[in-house]
């Protein structure tokens, strides 16, 4: 199984064929969806999307890190990080999808 990488282009294509807007407007709208989510997170809000998952922002305190190569201790500044918790539904979808692929026999050896 080869791993593809899906990008904005594929998302915009799907919107184009599903809704029937122009390609350029589809691309603008995909961007608008992502931008709304980003803005909510930057404000510190949670983004809770049913049957998909929840994006949230966590604040991390300062802690001591270490340069793994030189062993020098450096402080890691306090920061905010975005995290995502997938809903049970998509976890199930992913596991069902991938276990099906895993049990599929590979090319028949001759």
């Amino acid at each position: 199984m080869t791993t593809k990488t899906i990008t904005r282009v594929e998302l915009a294509d799907a919107v184009y064929s599903e809704i029937g807007l122009s390609r350029s407007e589809s691309a603008v709208l995909v961007e608008a969806v992502l931008e709304e989510i980003c803005q909510a997170l930057v404000k510190g809000d949670k983004v809770k999307i049913s049957s998909f998952g929840t994006f949230s922002v966590r604040s991390k305190k300062e802690r001591i890190g270490r340069n793994p190569r030189s062993g020098v201790e450096v402080p890691i500044t306090p920061r905010r990080v975005a995290s995502f918790k997938a809903s049970n539904l998509i976890k199930k979808n992913i596991n069902d999808g991938l276990s099906k692929a895993a049990t599929k026999p590979l090319a028949v050896a001759s």
Partner: protein, 100 residues
């Protein structure tokens, strides 16, 4: 922000589209992401972040209440890594209070 608030915000920003179309837009984008992950693919959205699937090896877990050991099967978990631009935006300014 919930899914319906997201749809509402997008609708007011794009008043020429019906709310139904906006709902379709949001669900299409999300479904594409889920379908890609379920096919074992990655989803990379520059500036926003990347979704990928990580494998978890089978392990022997324990029921925390009874202490009984249980076999936990091999499984896949979806994973999100925030993009560089989002990380920077989160840390640039102090969070501004939402004006209701």
């Amino acid at each position: 922000m919930t899914r319906s608030e997201l749809v509402f915000k997008l609708s007011s920003a794009h008043p020429h589209l019906s709310q139904k179309d906006i709902e379709k837009l949001v669900s299409t984008v999300l479904r594409q992401i889920v379908d890609a992950l379920a096919a074992g693919d990655r989803v990379e959205l520059r500036g926003f972040g990347a979704f990928s699937v990580k494998k978890r090896e089978p392990r022997v877990g324990r029921n925390p209440r009874t202490g009984e050991s249980v076999d936990v099967d091999y499984k896949h978990v979806p994973f999100f890594k925030a993009g560089k631009q989002l990380r920077e935006r989160l840390n640039k300014a102090a969070p501004t209070k939402k004006v209701a």
